[in-house]
Symmetry: C2
Subunit: 198 residues, 2 copies
């Protein structure tokens, strides 16, 4: 029998708590499939779980290469290593891109809330020149103005990651578990746990 | 004009030096393409540069999933974040698997040297049960014996990663550079540098 509550979520929350005094404990590596078919891998920031779910939120600029990649292939794998507690989570799943074109009321609201949660400095980055393009020596003469009360700018994207498989490794206790999501007859997402070799 | 010496290599060596008091500074995330076509991502240990080159060495167990993945698709991307100096290296390239079947004399020697460089404890792991397979409660009654002078066991693999593109980001100095390898008319590998937007 599977479990409706993701058993790896409590392990992850514990790891976040015990490594929480390091800012970098919220940094994880996100792998996607590049548009050239090669793997693509970068560091992103964990922005929390969607309330009452095991879905993970990440914010990004719509002009980043990963958006095009995810539109071609929505599958991703997170590798998250906690340096202090020596724990690794490999989380595989499907990524949804919630961008300015989103018309779903719930997601529209989530994106607006995400935007209000970030700092004014972070917001300004979404108004800067296109990430990854050649850097021009001549930059705009003055800083763009951003009303602190206005909603998300067009380049602001919320990524919603829906895991279906997790590989948990604890290097200290020499323990490794595999968690797999299955769908019940009632359509509910259930998690099965299996201990695997290191 | 490109440079024959990889300009990102000195940046990487500096990052390793300034983060060297953390054991985890040698941990990096390696993304490959899974046999199901989805991205695959895990933490591995940097074992150094091949002498006089910009090729990176990694050791692994031949029974690991990444070996099958790399035999299907040899491309990989490393994401390496240095927590102390706030630097990120994304290194894209091609991975060569040097396993027990290798007949090339130079690579045969490199694999043997790699095996002698690791600790007795690390060596024993290559004799353990298959990584990632279900864990059986009953383990072998006694530890397998390993002669400290003998050559590498069959499951020991040397991975040689040959980079062709590097994206370097320094979060502190707000600097980002792209390095691309090109081949000269003489067949030499040359590196071109371009500053890109954050």
């Amino acid at each position: 029998m599977g479990s409706a509550v993701a058993p790896w979520k409590s392990l992850l929350l514990s790891a976040l708590e015990s490594n929480g005094h390091f800012k970098h404990s919220k940094f994880l590596q996100l792998a996607t499939i590049g548009t050239n078919g090669r793997p693509s891998n970068r560091t992103v920031v964990f922005r929390g779980f969607e309330e009452g779910t095991d879905r993970i939120h990440i914010y990004t600029d719509s002009r980043n290469r990963k958006i095009e990649e995810l539109k071609n292939c929505p599958f991703a794998e997170i590798c998250w290593y906690f340096t202090e507690s020596w724990e690794q989570f490999r989380i595989s799943g499907r990524m949804e891109v919630v961008d300015a074109s989103c018309v779903d009321a719930t997601k529209f609201k989530q994106r607006a809330e995400a935007w209000s949660s970030i700092s004014p400095k972070s917001r300004m980055q979404y108004l800067g020149p296109s990430p990854g393009l050649p850097h021009l020596a001549e930059q705009p003469a003055k800083e763009p103005f951003l009303d602190s009360c206005s909603g998300p700018v067009d380049t602001f994207c919320l990524l919603v990651f829906d895991p279906d498989q997790v590989d948990y490794l604890n290097v200290r206790s020499d323990e490794r578990n595999s968690f797999k999501a299955i769908t019940s007859f009632g359509g509910e997402k259930l998690w099965e746990t299996e201990r695997i070799n290191l």
